[in-house]
Symmetry: C2
Subunit: 352 residues, 2 copies
């Protein structure tokens, strides 16, 4: 079935589009009252992720409200280590934790990549249900955390500002970290390909924590494994190209290396000048980003001005997917998202 709105896929492949497509990281989230209602019905964030009916419902909620150009499957970046048996759970206000973080060498040696069909079927079911419900209106994006980002949580057992335990292993026992990353890369590749099989029309790797690494360590411990994932991705499904996006938060210094992984698009956080980024890597990849999510906390006038500034900095022609430079804040007034999408759709026509 041909997509009614394929601007996202065309922009990711640097083909011409009549305007700049837009979607928002974490677009199905706590800033939406209807999301909070469904989450309350599910009982918890994790129960919501694991219930394909409800996960489908929240995936579609922002599409019902806004003329977004893509859906992204509602899930968590840490489903893979959970499927490995580490026991993912969430505590109110403290984010994700693992019951059994990797502490002992034998636990690390015992790790293996989970079969996504056997162990992550609930995500694949959600992908299938969302695809059916979208009925060809806009494309569906699948995603995973990067091998390094997963390893951060697997070793630390929870979020952290500096992931000191993971880094301690990196410097003290790089062999152990390389083993974890090798397993993770295989797991992420299989997981994303299973999402593609189930109907994801583009995939994104979230390297949320690669930016905590030194220049050398980022290349050795994060990018190498992201590149391995990208190289293993299904490039074409049922005759249609499936574009891939790699996003490293704090990765503005490494754009050339990220673009060289072979991905189709590079996500930019809001600290990067998108005009300079285009000059550096825009001939090889599409760019996705990069409004500071804090702009959405201000006023419709400021939102229009700042969105316009990004469109102007990117300049004429295709290859740009508008997004935030990080996930949307739960404190965002929902009407500010309307203002943003209206600004991007309205102002971008002049650049195409």
């Amino acid at each position: 079935m041909k997509l009614k709105n394929d601007t996202l896929l065309r922009a990711l492949l640097r083909e011409p589009t009549p305007y700049t497509p837009i979607w928002l990281m974490r677009q199905a989230g706590r800033y939406l009252p209807e999301y909070n209602q469904t989450r309350a019905r599910a009982g918890s964030f994790l129960a919501l992720c694991r219930n394909p009916d409800l996960a489908t419902e929240v995936t579609l909620q922002p599409l019902a409200r806004y003329p977004l150009d893509a859906a992204i499957v509602f899930s968590d970046i840490l489903t893979i280590p959970d499927a490995m048996g580490l026991g993912l759970y969430f505590t109110e206000g403290e984010g994700p934790k693992f019951e059994r973080p990797l502490r002992e060498e034998w636990e690390i040696r015992d790790l293996s990549a989970p079969d996504p069909v056997a162990h992550l079927g609930y995500v694949l079911d959600t992908v299938r249900q969302v695809r059916r419900a979208l009925a060809g209106s806009v494309p569906l994006i699948g995603f995973s955390g990067s091998p390094f980002t997963l390893a951060c949580y697997m070793i630390e057992g929870q979020g952290s500002s500096d992931f000191a335990s993971a880094k301690k292993m990196l410097y003290e026992r790089p062999d152990l970290l390389h083993h974890i990353l090798t397993v993770n890369a295989a797991a992420v590749t299989a997981y994303l390909n299973a999402q593609i099989d189930a109907g994801a029309q583009a995939v994104m790797v979230f390297d949320t924590w690669g930016g905590v690494l030194s220049h050398a360590a980022f290349h050795e411990f994060s990018l190498t494994y992201t590149a391995r994932v990208v190289a293993g991705l299904t490039r074409t499904h049922e005759g249609v190209r499936v574009p891939s996006i790699v996003f490293t938060k704090g990765g503005g210094g490494w754009l050339e290396s990220i673009a060289a992984t072979g991905c189709d698009a590079v996500g930019l956080d809001w600290t990067v000048d998108i005009g300079a980024a285009r000059a550096r890597i825009g001939a090889r990849v599409a760019l996705q980003g990069n409004l500071d999510p804090a702009v959405l906390l201000s006023t419709p006038q400021a939102i229009e001005r700042e969105a316009g500034a990004i469109l102007e900095r990117y300049g004429r022609g295709g290859g740009h997917v508008f997004n935030l430079g990080h996930g949307i804040s739960q404190h965002t007034p929902p009407e500010h998202v309307s203002a943003l999408i209206e600004a991007v759709h309205g102002l971008s026509g002049g650049y195409h």
Copy 2:
């Protein structure tokens, strides 16, 4: 009085030195048992900062233990807003807070730069006492938070991962933020010059939070005001040059602009490749940095290897002050600091 060890000052001015000098951000801190003892005697962190005798004592502690090439006055980056009347206090494990953060427009319009002699005399007394106690052994560094970093805390009232309130003001009421920053720039300039008058032989501006800004906002709201501070600094005191260092955490994308403020040296966080940084700005400024503080949590072997890698990436010649890329972790084993200093002093001779 001529300094016995002036390697720091020479390196900051890109003059030849026999080896690469080293000091560590937060070198007088919680990883040292003797620091914790003095702090316990003081009663609190803030009482310690405000007592020149005890602040002098902790400033000197790391120099008694290690052959460091500089002292840095023990103080807090938030002394200026405290002197403005915002009421600095600390809660265990939560960092600095203000009793009276800036909430109303009239509070912002009422702000004025405090006279450092009248209101920050305790810091100046500490500077004088430390200078006397050092007796010309190594130079003493004075410091302040940058105008933008101070504003973040003044508006937010406490630390934050994204400083959403400060950014909301930035996008909604840039005029108000510019007013705060204008006052802060005058305050920081007067404060650093007072430290120089009291005996500080180099000064450093910590732009700890400039890196949370977008490319455009960083230049407009952080760098403009840091540059104003640098331009207003006393360049020569009693016939001796007083070098200035600017450090923006997360500022790796903006090194050229930071170097163009007129500072003598640019501090680098650990995400930057110091070799690439030297190629970009090393002809104009010295570089300070940039070991990942997490390396100090690993092993002496890894510390020597990683320190050696930074020296090698910087390459031959002067203009490098070794440091961490951020403050030292309180979990650092004190003997690992010995290993680092030994490695830097031992290995760097070959590059000079």
